[in-house]
Symmetry: C2
Subunit: 324 residues, 2 copies
């Protein structure tokens, strides 16, 4: 399984990651049993903890003290979790006769406040770090995350989305938080400024590559490995890079037009996927994700050789080369 393979790449971080995990579990305790349940449930759902991993590995280039570093590793993971929770709050889902069912209403309330709680706890955890630049970084990233989410809502069903707007959106939605994970790790470990900037840029390029790969996988993966029908994001009106780059190709163009007019049938989905999979646009998208990966690797070049550097390279390679 992918996740296990990925975890093997940072197996030597296990003791430090365990400390981060313990801190995460501590931080989400509260005197509301309901909220503690909800938060622990989210934590136990796992996730790859890839952002804390980037924090830890970046910090390894400086003065690494886990008791200090954990206060930047925990906030980035909490913000990631909070944004996932808020993404799951769906306005119209589970309604009956135009009114939310008790269960849906309850879940939405809890999801919203649980997200707010995690956001707040992220800031609270970071306040152990006496560095206003760190707060600026994290809060700016939260702002950009929100903007990314709003753009995604606004861009829905924008079948004429430009490459530039797509890149801007994934920068906000994905790349910035990974970039900031690297930078905060470096900052908390007093990594020299020049190296810190390389680590920040590395995180940014990896994040871009990673999100493009994710969007490619939504098209080329089997339904089973995705856990949902391939192309379902597209049918919901989420326009991604492969589609942007392939939409002028006749076969794709014709089917996109059908979807745009409301045909989201099984047969149309399958036809569209087939066209996209063999499209030139998809190949172009792969090349672009590779370009970002190369840029990420380039940033690491001037950093001193170390096992942390090797891990960063391996993770970047792994995340950007998941089997298409």
């Amino acid at each position: 399984m992918d996740k296990l393979k990925l975890k093997a790449l940072y197996a030597d971080l296990k003791p430090e990651l365990d400390i981060v995990e313990t801190e995460l579990a501590q931080v989400v305790l509260s005197d509301s049993a309901l909220l503690t349940d909800a938060a622990l449930h989210l934590l136990q759902a796992g996730g790859k903890r890839i952002r804390p991993v980037f924090v830890l590995l970046s910090a390894k280039f400086g003065d690494f003290t886990i008791e200090r570093i954990k206060h930047v590793a925990v906030p980035v993971e909490l913000i990631h979790m909070a944004s996932l929770v808020h993404d799951d709050v769906i306005d119209d889902a589970d309604t009956r006769r135009g009114r939310p069912t008790v269960k849906a209403e309850w879940n939405n309330r809890m999801a919203m406040y649980a997200g707010d709680f995690l956001f707040s706890k992220a800031i609270a955890s970071l306040s152990h770090i006496d560095n206003s630049y760190a707060h600026e970084l994290l809060s700016d990233t939260m702002v950009e995350l929100c903007l990314g989410e709003i753009e995604q809502v606004e861009d829905k069903r924008s079948y004429d989305l430009s490459v530039k707007d797509y890149l801007k959106r994934i920068r906000r939605k994905t790349a910035l938080l990974i970039s900031v994970s690297c930078e905060l790790g470096a900052l908390a470990a007093s990594v020299p400024d020049k190296q810190r900037v390389h680590l920040r840029n590395f995180g940014y390029y990896v994040g871009m590559s990673f999100q493009i790969v994710d969007d490619i996988l939504d098209i080329v993966s089997t339904d089973e490995s995705l856990g949902k029908p391939a192309g379902s994001d597209l049918l919901l009106g989420n326009i991604t890079l492969p589609v942007v780059l392939a939409r002028e190709e006749p076969g794709v163009c014709r089917l996109i037009e059908k979807v745009r007019l409301g045909d989201t049938s099984e047969s149309t989905r399958k036809e569209l996927l087939q066209e996209l999979r063999s499209s030139e646009g998809l190949a172009k998208a792969k090349r672009i994700s590779n370009l970002y990966l190369e840029k990420a690797m380039e940033e690491l070049k001037s950093l001193p050789k170390s096992s942390a550097k090797r891990s960063l390279q391996n993770i970047a390679l792994f995340m950007s080369k998941r089997k298409f």
Copy 2:
């Protein structure tokens, strides 16, 4: 109108409040037209800006520089606004202060992201202040606000709510943010520690008194002055202090039981209001709000005489003595 009378009490702060207002309008700009619209809409809906007023007046006891103080005045107002926006998602509220809510005009999702955006901008604004204690204060307050909201959901229709649980809830929901407004103002202006603690306590007691008064007004006001039917909070299952203190009285008890069993008719609402208005519980609630007001005034005693002190006294008096 109440709001005008209140504003007259801090008329001499107008130049500084204008700077805060300009900063608020600046801070909520973003390159999402939709979000900027939503945020400006919220700002223009007004509000008393009572939290920034507490920040400014508390800062007057120290080294007052508006260019520094505004970076704590803006965050507390943004957090207040963010929590209102998120409350509207929950409450299915279509109007607030007589204007349509963001939720009604856009949708749940926009309201949620707008709230997240305002939270994030609050932290971003505070990061101009290089003081990790300030970040700790604000993030802890955000955590408590969330817990308060969750408690309010959990306590809904808990007709046996205890006085202690009621007080705990309003402490989180209202008093803490006002307390922190005072403390952050004092902190940013380097007010001596002892005075800062008095200002913090003052804010806390005023906030408690203020919320109890608000809950009393929901029962004793006319529908017109409230802008909604009096007692409607109660019919929705929000149990407040007057009800907690009056529920053993036979007339109230009988009608609460009717509501509890689902009778939310006009006639029951009116009967219940009449019983509550003449109840001993209501009189007790008034006495408790007065006790908090006295405690607030007590905290101010040792502070040096100044126009800021007089303003704090007048505002506290006004907020706690709104006509019942």
